[in-house]
Subunit: 345 residues, 2 copies
């Protein structure tokens, strides 16, 4: 990213307030919240070339399945706007995050459109509408005053707007159900601490952060009524790729007889992918684990494994909440059925 004077939002970092757009088209550039700087400061990054946008994606300045769909589409629009070759730009954009099916979906949708920019803007608007619909469906599953555990960030920051897993919680909150949220900090990138806790504080929804290893013992104490997470890709059989740590939560939820819900727009479902065994799992740089703040915490010469995602088998998923409705086992026919319904229906 080139140096720039970043625009700074003065809205308070905690307390009820609006959440700014995660990504938008502005003056021929793609403007997005630089999520690496949260929660300390709300800074916007403006990508004026496909290369800059690819850097922003690969460095996680923007992340989250639905947001990456819009980012991919806007990347193609940016290539067209700048006179770069759209198919070449598409390939570079898709390669930045191999697990995220929405990124590829957004890129391909914009590439097939007569006007990539109009398509990208339509996708952002649809994303907002879809997530509100998904939230309404999901909120019906949450009992009053329930305690919900979530992992990573599947909120407004992971989308163009509103959020998926956090959209479910937000919809329950708006309906007066009074949910309280346990937030896994989500090592190594801390999307739970940094992003989910920031969103919940802005929305005035009570939240408690805990280390990932503590979720099991909180479940054992009876303090978690359900788990709601997002997804980076859902296979046709209902297997779910999501942030590393999700699978462990699904096993723990099963052990404690707690419902485990996955919330994602239908665009996250990849019907061409038969099962989780066919989902590529991105391995990220060892320094995400080895360097803690500015300090190296793993001694030199010791190996590090840093898979970004894991795959949760469908049998551990209680329900998949989409914008088109709620799917339950067996997922293969249930997901196919939702695709035949109008979105939001």
């Amino acid at each position: 990213m080139p140096a720039m004077d970043p625009p700074v939002d003065d809205a308070p970092a905690s307390g009820p307030g609006r959440l700014p757009p995660t990504i938008e088209w502005r003056d021929g550039k793609v403007r997005l919240i630089d999520q690496r700087r949260l929660p300390a400061e709300l800074v916007f990054l403006e990508a004026s070339s496909v290369a800059e946008l690819c850097d922003a994606i690969s460095q996680l300045a923007i992340r989250g399945a639905p947001a990456l769909g819009v980012a991919g589409a806007m990347g193609v629009a940016l290539a067209a706007h700048r006179g770069e070759d759209p198919p070449a730009a598409a390939a570079r954009l898709i390669a930045t995050r191999p697990t995220a099916v929405n990124l590829r979906w957004g890129v391909e949708r914009a590439l097939a459109a007569d006007d990539p920019l109009r398509e990208a803007l339509a996708m952002a608007a649809e994303d907002s509408e879809r997530n509100r619909s998904l939230g309404r469906h999901g909120a019906t599953l949450l009992p009053d005053r329930c305690q919900v555990l979530t992992h990573c960030n599947a909120g407004s920051l992971a989308c163009a707007d509103y959020g998926t897993a956090l959209g479910v919680i937000r919809s329950a909150h708006e309906a007066g159900k009074g949910p309280r949220v346990w937030v896994d900090e989500t090592r190594p990138i801390m999307q739970g601490s940094r992003l989910t806790a920031w969103e919940l504080a802005r929305l005035g929804i009570p939240a408690t952060v805990l280390v990932d290893g503590a979720a099991g013992s909180v479940m054992a104490r009876g303090q978690i009524d359900c788990v709601v997470v997002g997804a980076d890709r859902i296979a046709a059989n209902g297997d779910v790729a999501n942030k590393i740590g999700t699978y462990s939560l699904a096993v723990l939820a099963r052990h404690h007889h707690i419902p485990f819900y996955v919330a994602a727009p239908l665009s996250t479902v990849d019907l061409a992918c038969r099962s989780g065994a066919h989902i590529p799992v991105e391995q990220r740089h060892a320094d995400e684990v080895a360097v803690f703040g500015e300090r190296r915490v793993v001694p030199a010469g010791v190996a590090i494994a840093n898979p970004a995602f894991d795959v949760t088998p469908a049998r551990l998923v209680t329900a998949i909440i989409t914008d088109a409705g709620i799917a339950r086992r067996p997922y293969r026919p249930a997901l196919r059925g939702l695709f035949s319904l109008p979105a939001g229906g």
Copy 2:
């Protein structure tokens, strides 16, 4: 701690090499490895008063159940040496870490002795001998070329010498069994990354660090043959208090049909404590979770839960490996039986 010119060890941080004593009596002071500085540098801290030693314990410059037993005894010796009131010193020492039964045990043993220093030195020597015995018992449970997962640090740094859970792995390594180790980084204090990985690198035992949330998916891939952890306190019925995250691993191990072993000297077994429900769980400062390196990662105004330990029920523990032998279910008679044997027998 007062400022001082810390002695620095020049031994390489990685590669085969000796492990220095975790804690020792030297020139009327208690000299210990300052574990907060690892793995970046091996620095020794010298406590010349009970207050300094209490600070070192509460700030985790020294930690680990068996090491705290020796530290407690040396604290009483330090009080006697300095002309401080030993019973008052004992109470202050015990209050620093409420879950660790060995700390109280070490303090009370030195307090009851005619010569607290001789008693403390005897305890350190016994600890070394006991851990080697424990390691030999435990190594019989590890198949050749096995992949072992461990959590937190139950190594030489958690003891006067050799280690408990790592002592089992070390004994298997010395017996030519070629174990390979998966090391949970262990949030929030990173004892896995910082301490366990450092010890294993020095001992030349292959190790791979991973975030705590990744252990489940590595188990699902069939890459973990057993789990070996230490313990901070074991109740008479075999319930185990250990570092937060241990319980989740026990549930995950059960789900994947992987043996889950707890390695601890008999002094960690508290026969007066009927079950895990009676073990107090220390809640530590929120900043351990909220501040990442020098940076605040949890927004202000968001609650944080930071339990230092969790309790794993005996039914999830495949075996308890002690210096006196291996206990299996039902644990109440098995543990009582081990107490009647000579230590090391």
